[in-house]
């Protein structure tokens, strides 16, 4: 990375509607042909020319640096403008920034991935890495929660993961009608079904903060200690390099000390309501 404050131009290779309010951009660099290397869990600052800049997690495969993939929800001016981009349009990228999921540290352990809603997007690179290197891990459990069956992100991909014989994948939704034969209930309920050795498990949790709070409790109830639980925090990141302080979270800056934190490192601040 050169000057971290200067966006590099990328071209939109492909756009894809994932859900009613959620879309994916596939991007490629314009000025140089160097692959875009990143670690699972890191994020970029995406700049829509003349509109503004937002932090978005990278959701592609870290093993395929030829394409940069971002999935996001249209929730404001910048992401609305981003959704209107078409193949061939340009966008500015700064990054990658931040800490990553402990995919190397988790080798030799069981891995539990608990995620909900669009929180699957920042965890998907970790899932790709684990699948590529499946033999390095013990049991792998992926637990995903969504609002309704229609809100399940990357549904075909989840079905593919589920069809593998070496990963346990469970999906639950908060609300459904009679056509849905899967689980209905909160994702924390899935944690209690186990399928992993708590003392030898690394848990990666990503979703709304309230979901993560209850997931940590559920993991603790199963015997997973806080120093084996990792969460991805979301704050209002602006500079992405720890200068501006917009994303300050206790003594940490989410942009450079996070977004992925080992839970015991932020446990105290996590429960401070004002932070």
């Amino acid at each position: 990375m050169n000057d971290p404050m200067i966006p590099a131009p990328f071209r939109v290779k492909r756009t894809r509607k994932e859900l009613e309010d959620t879309f994916t951009l596939e991007l490629a660099p314009i000025r140089n042909s160097r692959p875009f290397h990143f670690s699972a869990g890191q994020f970029n600052m995406l700049y829509v020319h003349g509109v503004g800049e937002v932090p978005i997690s990278i959701s592609g495969d870290p093993g395929d640096p030829s394409v940069l993939v971002h999935t996001t929800r249209s929730v404001g001016t910048v992401t609305d403008a981003m959704w209107k981009l078409k193949q061939g349009d340009t966008i500015g990228i700064r990054g990658p920034f931040g800490t990553s999921w402990p995919v190397v540290e988790a080798e030799g352990s069981d891995v539990v991935i608990v995620t909900g809603g669009i929180g699957l997007a920042p965890l998907r690179p970790a899932i790709y890495h684990i699948i590529t290197n499946r033999k390095r891990y013990g049991n792998v459990v992926i637990l995903y929660g969504a609002r309704t069956p229609e809100d399940i992100l990357y549904r075909r991909e989840i079905e593919r993961w589920r069809s593998r014989l070496d990963i346990d994948v469970e999906v639950t939704v908060d609300r459904a009608t009679g056509h849905w034969a899967g689980n209905v209930g909160v994702v924390t309920k899935l944690v209690s079904r186990g399928g992993f050795d708590p003392s030898q498990t690394v848990a990666m949790v990503c979703g709304p903060e309230i979901m993560m709070r209850y997931c940590v409790q559920a993991l603790n109830d199963q015997g997973v200690a806080n120093d084996r639980i990792y969460v991805s925090m979301e704050r209002n990141m602006k500079c992405a390099v720890g200068f501006c302080g917009h994303c300050q979270f206790g003594q940490a800056f989410v942009c450079k000390d996070g977004p992925v934190f080992r839970f015991d490192a932020i446990e105290r601040d996590f429960y401070v309501r004002e932070l």
Binding site: T71, T72, T79, T172, V184, G207, I210, M211, Y214
Partner: protein
């Protein structure tokens, strides 16, 4: 050869019953019966007499709220090992929801009429059962609250 678990074994192995004395375990087991429900059939329906509670041996059950002229809303689902039903504890002992098997589902049903009499006459047993059902009710309430708040709406990530 397939080993079939007796009701007594199933009761002993389910964490819900952990810590109960042999006497109570035998009593509960004696009130249990194996039942199976084909996919789509109902274990119980709203307004019906709540004279049982269930442990799911294998399968899945949707707890549903019926709404006239529209598809029922699935409130929560239950899977293997889950305890289901506490309306038998609360007068007038009527089911509040429908319970529909999502697939072929095997359960042990416990005769609550037989158990209610015993709970009334033996307060220690009543307290032991209450200690086990209150956390189930607590968990369901907590889950229902989380489901209510639409927690997946919001940020762009």
């Amino acid at each position: 050869m397939v080993e079939l678990k007796s009701i007594a074994d199933l009761v002993r192995d389910n964490p819900f019953f952990a810590g109960l004395s042999e006497e109570y375990l035998e009593l509960i087991s004696g009130c249990g019966a194996n039942e199976s429900f084909a996919a789509g059939s109902f274990l119980f329906r709203e307004g019906g007499s709540a004279d049982k509670f269930y442990v799911i041996r294998h399968g899945g059950v949707a707890l549903e709220m019926y709404q006239p002229g529209r598809e029922p809303i699935i409130l929560q689902t239950r899977r293997d090992g889950d305890i289901m039903g506490w309306s038998w504890f609360i007068p007038p002992y009527r089911w509040e929801w429908d319970a529909r098997a999502l697939q072929l589902t095997r359960v042990v049903s416990f005769d609550a009429i037989c158990l209610r009499g015993k709970l009334e006459s033996d307060p220690a047993f009543g307290y032991e059962m209450m200690k086990r059902f209150i956390p189930v009710i607590h968990d369901r309430m907590k889950a229902a609250r989380l489901q209510m708040i639409d927690m997946y709406g919001g940020g762009a990530r």
